[in-house]
Amino acid sequence: MDIFVQQLINGLVLGSVYALVALGYTMVYGILELINFAHGEVTMIGAMVALSVISALVGSGVELPGVVIALLGLLAAIPACMALGFTIERLAYRPLRNAPRLAPLITAIGVSIVLQNLAMLIWGRQYISFPPILPQGRHQLLGASITDVQIVILITSVVLMLGLTILVKRTRLGRAMRATAQSPQLAGLMGVNANTVISLTFVMGSALAAVAGVMVSAYYGLAHYYMGFLLGLKAFSAAVLGGIGNLAGAMLGGLLLGVIESLGAGYIGDFTGGFLGSNYQDVFAFFVLILVLVFRPSGLLGERVGERA
């Protein structure tokens, strides 16, 4: 039982990071129907920028509490990623708005390769470790333990998700976003500037990615120029699992994927009598994904769209 609770907690923490990244995928997809393959790399850049700032601050010997230093790192990462997201959309996607659908997919892959290699040139090939500045407290919960970092990650993601939901459902900008997602032309007739909305969508998604990047590097204590790839892949899977284009779906998908993964890793050995070990954790996640999509072809919360005539 305590193993179950422990894996559940780990899964929820991991899942909430996936969910934040997945939101970025799903928002862009909802409006442009574009898989923004470079989104995982934006997350990585966020982690790298934050770590650089944090390491510099720690190295300069400023007398600040660890949490403040981490926050300063985050505050540097968010605008950097926002600018990056804005630039990517401007340079790589906007010129291809009316091109065949797979063309922007290829530029997205190109951007992803460029960002990865730029990061490698700037920060090197080695793993960068997160300085031990954050509180290392552990708390007991239902027979399992939860760390301070985990609690912060959970709370932050919940707050961000709530904020985003309110923004999309309640504000003028959110309404413009939803309108553009339904029909850019009609939204344009109603006075919505589709280009601005799309830019803002990218900027918001990138800000979330920055937060996710910092959280994941704080959680694992590491960052690496290649970390965005797998994280992006998982998050994209999560977005599809929940029903791509659907905000609540991305959150649900992310949490579910995280929980499935960690429970799978914890129990797969027992299920198969020790035949398959925890190294099959990813298989488990993808298998569930495929199974869900076979029975619900448009994801868990994705609307069932009729066949297009």
Partner: protein, 366 residues
């Protein structure tokens, strides 16, 4: 433009001579390593043409295509290496590999028939990853694939008692292993090109085009969408398995690392960059994307010539430049370098119908 039969034949003969002499010219001018790159490029042409059937003809976005390459390669490796002590002949192993890969294609296709566009993409991606992870971990409790270490000492391809792994003399010409593989791969590539061409204009090819443009309309016209889709997956996978078997024999060593997601994406880039659905375009894309990363290794010399010394290690720089090249090509030629005639028309056409057509090109909407 009307061309006489004579001209066509002359063109063919000239092209054939060029392809036959090319390996010697490359070997002489650029060295043995480039000859090996050419061999690999031919394998990628086969792979790209295989994926082109699935994505280009049938419009099914497949992001796990490399899995079939892996299946073909592992079939070959398991049946012709000391791993199980089996050494079956090439003509037995290659068809087995291709057939098993085709079977996997159907296996992937069957549960995904209802999925569209990006949902299909993510399932195929997951499938590819599952295959890779299994290959990576099937060394315990029973050792099948030898895990991350991979399988080595795979038998080289051997035709009628002549091992392509050794150097041979023929009419006074020395043929090294890469030369011989070049000719084998060239022949098989031509076969794949031929099959692709014939498929494109066949009843099946037209059915693929129909489901690509509009699945519902195609079904209404009496096309059996299920079978036609499965056939696309199976055909594409078979070509992938074929290339995989050849790769195993050529390389003599395979490991799961060669079959990661990036490879699948690369092959997709080849066909989109070259011009999806158009065979010359796909071939161009495959050659370009195989040769370009290798050629970019020479940026060190350029840096030395322009700046006096090497500022950035070329091996660090080459993928960066490669990514930029991908972006730039797509920005300036969104339909690919050599788009098919139909696509070109769809892209430049103006007016309502054309816009509608455009929206449904490789439509993954819903």
């Amino acid at each position: 433009m009307p061309r006489s039969k004579r001209q066509v034949w002359l063109t063919f003969i000239a092209l054939g001579m060029m392809l036959a002499l090319l390996p010697f010219a490359v070997d002489f001018g650029l060295g043995r390593s480039w000859l090996r790159i050419m061999d690999l490029a031919l394998l990628y042409v086969m792979l790209a043409l295989g994926l082109n059937i699935v994505v280009g003809y049938a419009g099914l976005l497949d992001l796990g295509y490399i899995a079939f390459y892996a299946v073909g390669a592992y079939c070959y490796a398991l049946l012709a290496s000391p791993q199980f002590g089996l050494h079956l002949p090439f003509w037995a192993v290659l068809p087995i590999g291709a057939a098993v890969a085709g079977l996997f294609g159907v296996l992937l296709g069957a549960p995904t028939l209802r999925l569209r566009g990006d949902y299909l993409a993510i399932v195929t991606l997951g499938f590819g990853e599952i295959i890779r992870i299994f290959l990576n971990n099937l060394n315990a409790p029973v050792n099948i694939t030898n895990g991350p270490q991979g399988i080595n000492q795979i038998d080289p391809v051997s035709l009628w008692g002549v091992s392509l792994g050794k150097t041979h003399q023929l009419f006074g010409i020395t043929l090294s292993a890469p030369h011989q593989y070049y000719f084998l791969f060239l022949l098989l590539t031509l076969l794949v090109v031929f099959v692709s061409l014939r498929l494109q204009d066949s009843r099946i090819g037209r059915a693929w085009a129909a489901i690509r443009e509009d699945e519902v309309a195609a079904e209404a016209m009496g096309i059996n969408v299920r079978n036609i889709k499965l056939l696309a997956f199976a055909m594409g996978a078979t070509f992938g398995g074929l290339a995989g078997g050849l790769f195993a024999g050529f390389q003599g060593f395979i490991s799961p690392e060669s079959f990661n997601l990036m490879e699948s994406i690369m092959i997709l880039c080849m066909i989109v960059l070259g011009g999806m659905g158009n065979i010359p375009g796909v071939i161009l894309g495959a050659l370009l994307l195989t040769v370009l990363p290798e050629a970019l290794r020479y940026t060190g010399n350029l840096q030395r010539a322009w700046l006096g010394h090497v500022v950035i290690d070329p091996s660090d720089l080459r993928m960066l430049l490669f990514g930029m090249a991908l972006i730039l090509v797509m920005l300036f030629r969104p339909a690919g370098l050599l788009p098919s005639r139909q696509r070109k028309r769809e892209l430049v056409a103006k007016g309502d119908v054309a816009v509608q057509e455009q929206a449904s090109v490789y439509d993954a909407k819903r």
